[in-house]
């Protein structure tokens, strides 16, 4: 996957860190100190459509041939997460119990075009 730069226009991963102290949540979330709420942004023109990140491969080449042949019928291609991982939280619930849980698919590691 590609990380967004200052003036990226193509599909890339935009990093965004939420510091729990900044939003006043550090008293009930014990760990971690923040949440990497990265997201995908950018364009997916036809020539990169369907390539998850940089994972070009044989089947991508075949896909490109098919797309080139049917360019007129090309459907929209969107910039979406292609790899995600859980967010592990240790927090106090409203009865001051200590709860640990791993919330699946909360952190985007890479983006690509559908």
């Amino acid at each position: 996957g590609v990380d967004c730069g200052a003036d990226s226009r193509m599909c890339c991963r935009q990093e965004f860190f939420v510091d729990f102290k900044e939003i006043g949540w550090e008293d009930w979330i014990i760990q971690p100190e923040g949440y990497h709420m990265n997201f995908c942004a950018g364009l997916c023109p036809l020539h990169v459509a369907g390539i998850p990140g940089l994972a070009a491969s044989f089947h991508t080449a075949v896909l490109n041939r098919i797309k080139a042949a049917s360019a007129a019928a090309a459907v929209d291609s969107c910039c979406v997460p292609t790899q995600r991982r859980p967010l592990s939280l240790l927090y106090y619930d409203r009865d001051s119990n200590i709860v640990k849980t791993d919330i699946p698919d909360m952190i985007v590691d890479s983006c690509g075009c559908t």
């Binding site: 900044e22 409203r94 640990k100």
Partner: protein
């Protein structure tokens, strides 16, 4: 930025100016975390347990794990295979001191409705520290509110012959599991000793040997991955 294909549903923040964009993203992060924890709002300021009790509990849990003594906290259900998308929870609940007499003491363990309402208990273990210097008979009763009557019913009763001071564990999985379906999931434990034996527990709440329950739970509905 730029024309976006009609089929892609963006989250809409990319087009905002930097200031409002940051605020929108922070609001989105809060909403996303609270939704995944099934919380309507962030919990109020917690009353954390004493540092001594917390360290003692974590040490005890680790010792229990390394002993691999699954018997004491027998699994009620095998956890789902990893990658099943079923979110798992581990809860550490310290006792609230309830009513007491010269022969008995009540301890309450509360579990939050948010977690209780959307998970099922895999395993739950009660950790008790006996301060008794020598052998002492103790009866441990698990009480739970009876929906039909105002008082409580005895879910289970265990008679122990404590030989010396130290930690002991009790499997309370079935009792906690049956609580999780109720309005206020609260487990009450009654400890009773013969007349004149004095309380078997440490003297006060701040003691680092305060009773606690460790419960493992698993979400009942698989986590849905929304692809846009």
């Amino acid at each position: 930025a730029g024309a976006r294909p009609a089929g892609c549903s963006p989250c809409g923040v990319a087009a905002l100016a930097p200031g409002p964009r940051r605020d929108a993203l922070l609001a989105l992060a809060k909403q996303s975390i609270l939704a995944k924890l099934r919380l309507a709002a962030r919990p109020s300021v917690p009353q954390p347990p004493s540092r001594g009790a917390l360290l003692s509990a974590l040490r005890r849990m680790r010792a229990q794990r390394s002993d691999g003594a699954a018997g004491a906290g027998g699994m009620l259900r095998e956890p789902a295979r990893p990658g099943m998308g079923l979110q798992e929870y581990e809860m550490l609940s310290f006792a609230e001191a309830g009513s007491s007499t010269s022969r008995s003491v009540h301890l309450h363990f509360r579990f939050s409705q948010e977690v209780a309402g959307s998970t099922e208990i895999l395993q739950a273990t009660l950790y008790l520290f006996w301060a008794a210097p020598g052998p002492q008979p103790i009866t441990v009763r698990l009480l739970q509110p009876d929906v039909a009557k105002p008082n409580v019913t005895v879910a289970s009763e265990t008679r122990l012959e404590v030989q010396r001071s130290g930690w002991t564990t009790l499997d309370v999985g079935a009792a906690v599991r049956s609580l999780f379906g109720q309005e206020t999931p609260r487990l009450t434990v009654e400890l009773e000793v013969p007349e004149g034996w004095g309380s078997p527990l440490p003297s006060d709440h701040s003691d680092s040997h305060w009773p606690f329950v460790v419960a493992q739970a698993q979400a009942t509905t698989p986590h849905r991955v929304h692809r846009r």
